[in-house]
Amino acid sequence: MEPGQSKPAGEAGVPAPDKCTDPYLRCAFNGAAQTALGVAGSALLAHSPQGCDYLVNNAFASQECDYMETMTLCTKLCVDEIVHGGEDVLARTIREAKDLPISALFVISSCGPEIVGDDITAVCGELQPEVKFRLVPIPCPGFRGSQYDGIDIALDVMLKRLVKAGTQKVPGSVCLVAPHANANPTWVADLDWVKQVLSRMGIPVVATLTHRTPLAEIENVASAEASILLSHDAGQKAVDYLSATYGIEQVCTGIPLPIGMTNTKRWLSALGERFGAEKTAESMVAEGERMVTATCRRKWPMARFLYRTPAAIVADATVGIPLVRFVTEEMEMTPELVCLYTSQRPARDLLAGELKSLGLRPRVVFGTDVYQTKKNLAEIRPRVIFGSTIERHASEGLGASYVVEVVRMMRQFRMINREYFGYTGILNLFECVQNEWTMAWRSKEKRYEAKW
């Protein structure tokens, strides 16, 4: 199979695999909620039955919201509202919230009200004069796609409804797009790393779309000169819109996000080149590489023993694509299977380029689900898997020595956010490997009982 090509769909005796899936990705409603909850000083109202509120809770956790600051509400639609329409209930709920000290209330509609035709945009328009905050309707039923589609839909609404045209450009500034479309469970650290880098290069950040972003920043996003997309899974549409509407140029395009030595160097260099900060970029690379090397010399990462160990990577494109080079170059392993949750053309092209450049020919599965992952793990039998808790259980009995949980962890928990981007990110990933290595060596039972 050619690098970058997906495995043929289906297998002998199994019907085409798109009717019954076991998805990794959540629905568009969830992605829209993640995006809305990244706006500081706002609240979110789910116009939905009460079950969808759990998708909001998931998004709330993903955006690291503080329940003392951010409120989520739900119209809790029942049969009556599905039969007779839920617009009255929506209006009543907005009125209940009218005294909240917020700058915006994002109203996101789920499958039920969208199918029965509730017009949340009209309700918000009608009630806007009654409330002090902005009402922002985002019709985003789950059936409109994956969580990444939801992020794109919500960003589209925000940019079209909230951004003020005609703002003066801030010279050499950027806006950051879709940092939350990243399967690193503590992706906020990746965003923080990017901001530190930009600060050191003297590049002002006009807005982040979205994480703890004040409404005023979103309104002002047109003043950015450039945009940086922080995901290979979502946000490209927003970046394209900003480019087409406000002439905001996308930078750091066509290269993987900065995970690992080479990717980080490329990314920093591209940034330095665009903003005339080549010297700073060079010194950041030199310092960073020196720091990583020195730290490894002091800590002796066990990752060095995994030379030419067959590996699988199961992740989103944002983490998964850069990980291919990191695993191959830094850890000298042999990626033999790459399963990515998404299958967008830019991500396919980017991965194909990486594989070609590295001379790798792993099996590649785009848009994987849990079933496809398990089947491919069973066929390829990698010795090390970079993935999630799901792969830990899916690979039981398949002979994998280590499952390094780098995305969607259930058991391992981080109180401190840890980035994968940049130089400390390399050490964080080594640490994940190291802990898994240690666990694999730990005796599962004692050979005899002590006498005391």
Binding site: G13, V14, P15, A16, P17, K19, C20, T21, D22, P23, L25, R26, C27, A28, F29, N30, L45, P49, Q50, G51, C52, Y54, L55, N58, Y67, M68, M71, T72, L73, C74, T75, K76, L77, C78, V79, E81, I82, V89, T93, E96, A97, S110, C111, G112, I115, V116, P141, G142, F143, R144, G145, V370, Y371, K374, T389, I390, H393, E396, M410, R411
Partner: protein, 473 residues
């Protein structure tokens, strides 16, 4: 007591009357959103081994299921292998043109991929509204695959969380075949499910199973807490059904009694000595094993005599303020009230949400019928908009209420900071599990001892600030 902060103060019977008449149902649309019907139906179905729960909907509906039920609860905690969370991934086109054809193919595909013993189609809001006939598809699909295919209309808007459980249990009855024999001294335990709500930890079930085994009672199936389809087929061959929680098993128990004539032991949760003894005798007596049960109770009681004596001495004359807030449901609060009463305390149950009373009406009525009718206080904070505001206000109100009682002791969890000893009955601390049965008596006695002997130790300023902000006392 500051009457400005009190929304209700009376007995359980009086609260029930107010809830029944609609007086006590919160008017705020946005307050208190428990799980939807789909979620709870899923929990029950996922408690059957080798089942494919096939969600006929978009990918959002299985979110909680795949992350929390399958991966965290089942794989990580309960030792269950990775099982599928299958989904038809309905999209806009399916919503417009219908998804029945896709569903039929999905069932066939699910069978080919997972080789299950059972496939259960679960409809959700989308498929329910567009009118996909999941039941007909299930019948059609069953002819084309090698296992039973059932369908459950579990649209999230279609009912409350309770209806999801009940409809799923009702569906499971379709798998129960006419009895060919009677399994002597064998029971089913009803009302279990594998969900993220840790109200039924393995430890509690282990304690019940241990005691039943001591008596000589066998269990055919824990429905649906890891039972097999084969066990469900034979479920009508038992002599008796029982439940560790009257509430959850009640509907299925009543239905199996009504339809199949299998008696159902109606007992509450085995918290404390009296409830544990009642639970065991409730099961053993109809099986003709009363003598054996009494012998086990006597033996076990000897083991916990110091703990029982301590609980009586520690709780006698106290006011037990009881709040179950982390997985709010009135049944556990009422079971604790009964236990507190047994050891000589006056129970006051605080902040059971009227919504949960409404949802558990039959069980509450039964409990009142058994003679338990404790004092109940609901505060206004319970009805306020927003989880933080509500939580902060109920904390302030709780602290004020506790201060008005003589000799109070708080039965709840450590997230509360009342000015009295706090018995940490959280379900999130495995160090003191189980709470049921005789081992539970030991654990609860240890928790009460910790609360009383260390009541003057400082509480965490850090956790208090985290929960209620730094502006609190």
């Amino acid at each position: 007591m500051n009457s400005d902060s009190i929304a209700f103060h009376g007995t359980l019977q009086q609260l029930l009357e107010k809830v029944e008449s609609g007086e006590m149902i919160p008017k705020l649309q946005a307050s208190h959103a428990p799980m939807c019907k789909f979620f709870t139906a899923y929990y029950v179905i996922s408690g059957i081994r080798h089942v494919v729960p096939l969600v006929h909907g978009p990918t959002g509906c299985p979110l909680y299921m795949s992350d929390f039920v399958r991966t965290r609860e089942c794989c990580e905690i309960r030792g269950v292998p990775l099982e599928p969370t299958a989904c038809t991934t309905l999209d806009e086109s399916n919503v417009i043109y219908g998804g029945e054809g896709k569903l039929l193919e999905a069932v066939k595909e699910a069978y080919a991929k997972y080789h299950p013993d059972l496939i259960v189609i679960l409809s959700c809001c989308c498929s329910g509204i567009i009118g996909d006939d999941v039941e007909s598809i299930a019948r059609e699909a069953e002819k084309q695959v090698g296992c039973r295919v059932l369908a459950l209309k579990s649209e999230g808007f279609g009912g409350d969380f309770r209806s999801g459980y009940e409809d799923a249990f009702k569906l499971i009855m379709e798998l129960m075949e006419p009895p060919k024999t009677t399994m002597k001294q064998t029971i089913n335990i009803l009302g279990a499910r594998w969900g993220p709500s840790p109200t039924e930890f393995n430890w509690d079930l282990d304690e019940i199973e241990r005691l039943l085994k001591e008596i000589g009672i066998k269990i055919n199936a824990v429905i649906a807490g890891g039972c097999t389809v084969e066990q469900l087929r034979h479920a009508r061959e038992v002599e008796l059904n029982a439940s560790w929680c009257y509430d959850w098993g009640q509907k299925l128990g009543d239905l199996m009694q009504e339809r199949f004539g299998i008696p159902y032991s109606k007992t509450g949760q085995p918290y404390g000595y009296a409830a544990t003894k009642e639970w065991l005798l409730g099961v053993a007596t109809p099986l003709g094993l009363e003598k054996e049960a009494l012998a086990v109770v006597e033996r076990e009681t000897r083991e916990v005599e110091p703990d029982l004596a301590y609980l009586k001495q520690a709780l006698e004359g106290k006011t037990a303020i009881i709040e179950v807030s982390e997985f709010p449901g009135p049944i556990r609060a009422l079971s604790l009230a009964r236990m507190a009463q047994e050891f000589g305390a006056h129970p006051v149950v605080i902040n059971v949400h009227p919504y949960t009373i409404k949802e558990r009406m039959p069980s509450i009525k039964y409990i009142i019928g058994t003679g338990l009718n404790p004092e109940i206080i609901l505060t206004k904070g319970l009805f306020h908009l927003g989880s933080f505001r509500s939580s902060k206000e109920t904390e302030d109100e709780l602290e004020a209420i506790v201060a008005t009682y003589d000799n109070p002791i708080f039965f709840g969890n450590s997230g509360r900071f009342p000015p009295c000893p706090v018995v940490n009955l959280t379900l999130m601390n495995p160090a003191f599990q189980p709470h049921y049965g005789f081992k539970g008596i030991k654990n609860i006695a240890a928790l009460v001892r910790q609360a009383l002997e260390h009541k003057d130790l400082p509480r965490s300023r850090l956790f208090r600030g985290m929960l209620y902000g730094t502006g609190t006392k």
